[in-house]
Symmetry: C2
Subunit: 510 residues, 2 copies
């Protein structure tokens, strides 16, 4: 159940079908397109041949699981990540400090090394192991120009130090030599032009061959300029099934408890910081699914009703607090083996109480992230929230404001990421072709209007300050001083379910 | 919302209607009735005049809230209980050790002192403040013979020390003199004959005037002989909305973490020990209500389905543990300000997982009580479970067996308490009238057959030993070392709900 594979042809079909679909609504626009930007999930990676053909599309390899793309949420390389973390910590590897002290099993090298460990033939037949965003750009432009952004956030690369040393990999996995052989060594900053649309592709989708193609980007990151944010002080939250938080700053500050920091990672010229919460819309949907029933409103209608009834409650009235660790904790604890907690339950607790406690837990978790940034010297003055939940849950937006004490601005665009990618396409085209010289200029020129601004309510903020202290005590108790407790609970569960025993028994496996 | 009053006429009507109803099914039985036993909730108490007339039935007092019976679950005297506990602890009062170190706001003196504090006129007009079980016996027999059982468990009385001293009450509430004035000073052991059925009552209900009436008993306690248990080694659980645990032993052992110990309290001649868990059927019903929906199976059908699906899971498979403190904790923590906790939640957690975790939390809480008895020298060899949930949830019965390692016997009688009361009626009649000489003899002669016996499953017990250790760590963390955390959460809630602020701010009130 930890595996997650994908068919690469889905991307080709979505790309061609998507462009044709948009152009059919605005046929007169096709001739005015000067550039194309691409964003995709990351780290979603696939093994390809020299010419970019996915191994899984060749009959010799179709039947081999490791020949297929591994989706970002493929978690079956957790033991590799654990091993790399352990060895990196022992060797005091400097790269760890750029990732809050811990790398994730979702990233590039755990996935690559899993192939090396489990199917050496597929590994040997792989000429390059590429991010899906880079592969899509390659398909569109004919150019293999890898983006610096996923390389920095997911492949442990920095423009100062390159990738971790051969010695490090040799210490962790003797024999896994030449770690960069399938990664390449040239990485291009965001906004760089990878090339122009390949003539056959241009023909198929109905766009001019003169359209520039920008190097690939990552789905959440493009929301930063897409939401109209330009620089330091803005805290952009992409609020969907999970939350991705984005911050930029002129200096590199090595902070514990963040997902990563990378130069040019979000906006060229600045250091980009990423943090996040891994269960948001997913957790709310889980609760809606549990309460929903056949013949009723279904999960969506149930959530609408919960949003209404929870909105009628006051701060602290539920008597409940939750730790939103339904999918582990990304920031500030970086611990995937934690799980969710609900405390304060009584015979009077209602569905609305629990739903509100879940929303509050998201906002409390977010305050812990904001405080971590601000204690690290990254002061933030405003929250910009986009993504599906930013539109669907005004109550969550108000709670984010009340609990953080910052205003929350929701842009009036339901396509913030697409808008952000388009801006990078315009930068890749350049001003001479009618695009822009830089992303800040593009973001400013095409900043979406504001749909709503949520201001913190003074009384609510004062009440929530008290609840936050109580919440933070539980967070620190079960997430830090007694974190072994939830780990032990998970270990017992894995032992009880046949075939699930390996994830927490790394040392025995290695 | 902490108040709970009742109309005393309900008891008269239920009594007369109940007897007539039973006799209409078995008219030939009326002439053979030799004795009647009564049990009622406790501490349910009412103020009456010299002749037993409830104050609330006199027009002068009808409009005064304190003139009405206070039901056992009236919790508005919590501040009085807190004050009495504080002063008793300071003065090292020996009576405290009979109640596990803490008296409850549900008991006799907190309720009486609340009247004294809040309505002195009602207090002064009260000739006697009596347990409802004693009042019903008084109505039936014309005799005011108070039972030693509720006096010992709820009015701090012991046959060695009497009630707490005037000095103690004076230290807690200066001016509240003569604490025993409205309680009386003669208390009769269970099985004593209070008198015979009053002629007018005998006529109305259709029973012979020769029928003996036993002194009053308390609802859960009668289940001990009613279930066929006779003596030491048996652990009788009455499993309904809450759980009451009953144990008897020849010695008085002063144990922390029990509700109380009283000589002759359950069975004459032995010390009776009571412990319990305050949210069982109530907690399961809460979950069923939350999931149920209009037009569906309703809460009852939902629980049937949950029982089925949770039964298909294995020990430890849910990855969840719960603390069953939905209504506070009675044993072994004796802390009403604790509340429920659910931990280990993930996006994969199902309704059935949560339901099973709730059942397991009941069984883990029960193991903590059993271990406390056995560490105190009260070894137990068998569980006898009766009450509604003992029939409705075979899964809970199996979990009680698996988690405790003891067999669980469920008697084949859905009227165990009524059967127990009837046995005391037969003892009050005595052998000369066709009854019994003692309760042990009566229990043996009329022991109900066994409906089912649940044996502990070795593999499950081994797995649950590991889960219990984890559960116990959380229990001790949030119930002992960090108990202030859930208290603070409750305090914040009370502050947030207008008019609910007093319960935890005792010192300011006094």
């Amino acid at each position: 159940m930890d595996w997650a594979l994908h068919d690469p042809d889905d991307y080709r079909r979505a790309l061609e079908g998507g462009i044709s679909g948009v152009l059919s609504e605005r046929p007169e626009a096709a001739g005015h397109v000067v550039g194309i930007g691409v964003d995709a999930t990351s780290c979603t990676v696939l093994p390809v041949t020299e010419d970019g053909t996915p191994l899984c599309e060749l009959s010799a390899w179709r039947g081999r699981a490791h020949a297929w793309p591994k989706l970002w949420k493929h978690h079956a390389a957790q033991h590799v990540a654990n091993r790399l973390n352990e060895v990196a910590a022992e060797r005091k590897e400097v790269f760890l400090s750029r990732y809050g002290g811990r790398i994730s099993s979702e990233w590039y090298f755990p996935k690559l090394i899993q192939i090396w460990l489990e199917d050496r033939e597929v590994f040997d037949a792989t000429a390059a192991f590429v991010e899906i965003t880079d592969w899509v750009v390659w398909q569109m432009s004919g150019q293999q120009r890898r983006s610096a952004c996923p390389a920095a956030y997911k492949a442990l690369w920095s423009d100062v130090d390159g990738i971790p040393s051969v010695d490090f990999f040799e210490a962790a996995y003797p024999g896994f030599a030449h770690p960069g052989a399938k990664l390449g060594d040239a990485f291009y900053p965001l906004g760089t032009r990878a090339g122009f649309l390949r003539p056959d592709m241009a023909h198929r989708v109905g766009l001019p061959e003169s359209a520039a193609v920008a190097v690939g980007n990552v789905d959440s990151f493009v929301s930063f300029p897409g939401a109209g944010a330009e620089g330091t002080g803005a805290y952009v939250m992409v609020v969907g099934t999970s939350i991705c938080d984005l911050v930029v700053h002129p200096q590199e500050i090595l902070l514990a408890g963040i997902t990563g920091v990378a130069k040019d990672g979000i906006v060229p010229g600045l250091f980009g910081y990423e943090a996040g919460q891994p269960a948001v819309g997913d957790m709310l949907g889980w609760f809606g699914d549990m309460l929903a029933h056949q013949g009723g409103d279904g999960p969506a209608g149930t959530l609408v009703e919960l949003e209404r009834s929870a909105g009628a409650l006051s701060p602290a009235q539920t008597g409940l607090v939750a730790l939103d660790w339904w999918n582990g904790n990304r920031s500030v604890l970086a611990d995937a083996d934690l799980s969710g907690v609900l405390a304060g339950l009584t015979l009077q607790s209602t569905r609305a109480d629990i739903y509100r406690a879940l929303l509050e837990s998201i906002a409390f978790g977010n305050k812990a992230i904001l405080d971590n940034f601000s204690e690290g010297g990254l002061g933030l003055s405003e929250i910009v929230a986009c993504g599906g939940i930013a539109e669907k849950s005004p109550l969550l937006m108000q709670l984010l404001a009340d609990i953080s004490g910052l205003s929350v601005k929701v842009p009036a665009s339901s396509q913030v990421p697409a808008r952000g990618s388009a801006l990078f396409g315009a930068v890749a085209a350049g001003p001479e072709a009618g695009g822009f010289a830089g992303i800040a200029e593009a973001a400013r020129a095409l900043c979406p209007p504001t749909r709503s601004t949520y201001w913190p309510q003074r009384r609510a903020t004062a009440t929530y300050d008290g609840v936050y202290r109580v919440w933070k005590d539980l967070h620190d108790m079960l997430g830090r001083s007694q974190a072994a407790w939830l780990h032990e609970l998970k270990r017992l569960k894995l032992l009880a379910v046949p075939g699930q025993g390996q994830a927490l028994t790394t040392k025995e496996v290695i």
